[in-house]
C-alpha cells in the first residue's frame, strides 16, 4: 500500500484536506436539499447510469491527464512491486474520483429522489466499480490496440445494456459484479507502466507553418481530446434539447432562450488559461496581453459558442417550428455575452490550485456563466424589450472591455 498512500497524499493533500472538504460539501448539498423538502422522481436506471458513467468519465480524465507525467515521474523511477503500483494508482484515483466528484453529484440525486438504502449502497458501489473498470479499459486500450478497442466497446455496451434494459436489479448488479471481476483480472495481468505515458514522444517533431494566436488555440483543441469531445457533446445536446422540451408545446418561447444559455457550458474551452499555468504566468509577465491574447481568446470562444447555438437553432427550426430574426439576434447576444463572461473569469479569476484535470473541469465556477445566461434566457421570454436593453448593455460592455481587462492591481493573488 506504499504507492497508494503516496498518491493519495499527493491527491488529497498531506492531512487529507480535500477528502474532508468533499465530505463536508456532500453533507451540505444533501442536508440543504433534503431540508428544503424539494423532491423529484428519478428513475433507478438514471441513478445507476449517472453513478457509473459520470464516475467512469472522471476516472478517464484522470488517467489520460497529461499532468500525470509529473506525478508519476518519481514513482516510476523507484523500484516498486507491480501489484502494489497498480493497486495504488487505481485505488487512489478511484477514491479521489468518487469522493471528490461523484459523491457530491450523487448526494444531490439522493436528496432529491430519496432512494432506499439498497439503491444508495448500489449507486456508490457502481461508482467505484465503474472507475475500476475504466482503469481496465484504459489498460486494454493501450496494450492491445485494435483488439483492445473492440473489447472495450463490447464491454461498455454490455454494461450499459445491463443498466438500461435489465428487467430487474439482480441482473444489473450481477453484470456490474462480473465486470468488476473481469476488470480485476485485466488489471492483474497488465503492465503498470501503461499508466506512465510520455506525451512528448519526439524531440524533433513535425515542422509547422507559421500561424498566429488562432492557430495556437486550434492546436490546443486538436491535441486535447476533451476539448473536441465536449464541443461534440454540446452539439449533440443542441440537437437533443428541442426534442426534450417538445412536450411543453406552449412554453417554447421560454425554453428556447434558456437552452441557448445552457449550451454555453463548454468547460475545457472556457478554462484554457487556467489549464496551462506556465503560459498563464508568461501572459501576466508580458505587456498588452489583454488585447494580444485575452481578446482573441474571447473571439475564439465566441465562434464556438455561435456554432453550437446555431446547431440548436437549426434543430429547433426543424423540430419545434420556425425561428426568426429575433432568435438569430439571441444567438449573437448569448454567444457574445457568454464569451465576455468566460474570458473575464479566466483572466481575472483563473483557477490555479487544481491537481488533476477533473478538478479544473468540474470546478463550480463552470456553472456560473451558463447559470447566469439561463437566467438571462428566462428574462428574454418575459418581454421583447429585454432583447434590446441587453443589446445596448452589450455594446457598452464591448466598449468597456479593454478597460475592464486592463490595469494592474486587479490580478489574482498568486502563491
Amino acid at each position: 500500500m506504499r504507492v497508494f498512500s503516496v498518491l493519495a497524499k499527493q491527491l488529497f493533500g498531506a492531512d487529507f484536506k480535500k477528502a474532508k472538504n468533499a465530505l463536508f460539501i456532500s453533507v451540505i448539498i444533501f442536508s440543504s436539499i433534503f431540508g428544503s423538502g424539494a423532491q423529484m422522481a428519478i428513475a433507478q436506471k438514471v441513478l445507476f447510469l449517472t453513478a457509473s458513467v459520470f464516475s467512469a468519465g472522471i476516472m478517464m480524465q484522470m488517467l489520460t491527464s497529461k499532468h500525470n507525467d509529473e506525478m508519476f515521474l518519481g514513482l516510476f523511477s523507484l523500484p516498486f512491486e507491480a501489484a502494489d503500483c497498480k493497486i495504488g494508482v487505481v485505488g487512489s484515483f478511484t477514491l479521489y474520483a468518487v469522493l471528490t466528484k461523484s459523491l457530491p453529484v450523487l448526494m444531490l440525486f439522493f436528496a432529491l429522489s430519496r432512494p432506499d438504502p439498497v439503491q444508495v449502497a448500489l449507486a456508490l458501489v457502481f461508482a467505484v466499480a465503474a472507475c475500476i473498470q475504466m482503469a481496465a479499459w484504459f489498460c486494454l486500450l493501450h496494450s492491445a490496440k485494435v483488439l483492445g478497442v473492440l473489447a472495450d466497446l463490447l464491454w461498455i455496451a454490455a454494461l450499459l445494456c445491463s443498466i438500461l434494459f435489465a428487467p430487474n436489479l439482480y441482473i444489473t448488479a450481477g453484470a456490474m459484479a462480473a465486470g468488476l471481476i473481469l476488470a480485476c483480472i485485466v488489471l492483474a495481468v497488465s503492465d503498470p507502466y501503461v499508466f506512465y505515458r510520455q506525451y512528448s514522444s519526439s524531440h524533433a517533431g513535425r515542422k509547422h507553418h507559421a500561424g498566429g494566436i488562432f492557430a495556437y488555440f486550434f492546436r490546443i483543441m486538436r491535441s486535447n481530446a476533451s476539448y473536441v469531445t465536449n464541443s461534440i457533446f454540446l452539439c449533440a445536446l443542441a440537437v437533443f434539447l428541442p426534442f426534450l422540451t417538445k412536450q411543453f408545446e406552449d412554453a417554447g418561447s421560454f425554453f428556447l432562450p434558456v437552452g441557448l444559455g445552457l449550451l454555453l457550458l463548454n468547460t475545457p474551452l472556457c478554462t484554457m488559461i487556467s489549464y496551462d499555468r506556465d503560459t498563464e504566468e508568461v501572459l501576466r509577465m508580458m505587456p498588452g496581453q489583454e488585447t494580444a491574447y485575452v481578446l482573441k481568446y474571447n473571439l475564439f470562444i465566441f465562434v464556438f459558442d455561435v456554432l453550437i447555438e446555431l446547431v440548436y437553432l437549426v434543430a429547433w427550426h426543424f423540430i419545434r417550428g420556425a425561428v426568426g430574426v429575433t432568435e438569430l439576434i439571441w444567438v449573437l447576444l448569448f454567444s457574445l455575452q457568454g464569451s465576455i463572461f468566460c474570458s473575464f473569469l479566466e483572466w481575472r479569476f483563473p483557477i490555479l490550485n487544481w491537481k488533476t484535470d477533473p478538478d479544473l473541469w468540474h470546478h463550480p465556477r463552470k456553472y456560473i456563466v451558463p447559470g447566469v445566461m439561463m437566467v438571462f434566457g428566462g428574462l428574454l421570454s418575459l418581454s421583447p424589450l429585454v432583447t434590446w436593453i441587453w443589446a445596448g448593455v452589450l455594446v457598452l460592455e464591448m466598449i468597456a472591455y479593454p478597460y475592464i481587462m486592463m490595469g494592474d492591481g486587479r490580478m489574482p493573488a498568486r502563491s
Partner: protein, 233 residues
Amino acid sequence: MMKTEELLSIKNIKIWYTEGKPVIKDLSIGLYANEIVGLIGLNGAGKTTMMKTISGLLSGFEAKEIRWKGKETRFRDKDFKKKRFIVFAEDSSFGYFTFREYLKYACGSYGVKAENVEEMVEGFHFGEYTDVLMKELSTGNRKKAGLIVAFALHPEFLLLDEPVNGLDFQSTEYLYRLINDYRKYGSVLFSSHILESICLTSDRVMVLEEGKIDKVFEGESINAEVIREVLKQ
C-alpha cells in the same frame, strides 16, 4: 565599470507567499544602466521569488520605494512591463507555438522588431528546431528558445533565472558572450548556482541569504575562488 544612471531601485522590499512568513525580509537593490548583476544564493534564498516579484507575478509584497529611472513605478505598470523581460528557470509556456511563432507573438506584445535572431539561432545550434512546436522540444532547447526571444527583444532590463541550467557547454559559452555583449542594450540581472558563470559575466555579484543581500562583490573581488573563500567564512 563606471556607474551610470540608476535604472531600477527597490528599497526595503518584503515579499511573502503566506502573510506573516516573509521569504524576503528587507531587501534593497539598485541596478545601474548597462550593468550586468549576478545573483547567487542557496536553494530557497529567494532568488526566483525576487525575480517573479519584479515581473509582477507575485502580489504578496510591500516596498518602501520602487523607482525606474528615478520615477516611482509599480511592477505591474504597463510601461515598466514593456521595459523588462524574464526568462524563467523552468518554463513550458506556449507549447503549441513554434519558436518562430512565439518570437513573432512576443515581438508584437512588446512592439519591437526582433534583432540578430538568425545569428543567435546559429550560435545556440537551434536551427533544426525553429519550426517545431515548443512542447516537443527538450528542456535545453526550450531554454534556448526562451533565451533567443529574450535577447532578440532587447529590453532595457533582462531578468534571467538560472539561464545556464539545461544548456550544453557550447550554448553556455555562447550565452556568456550574449550576456557580456548585452551592455549596449541594457542591464541584466541573472541568477545562477554556478559561481563561475556569474563571475565570467557580472559587473557586480550579490549574495542573497535568508531573504537579504548579504554581501556584494565588485571589481577585482569578482573571482570564483575569492567569493568561495568569503562565503565559506
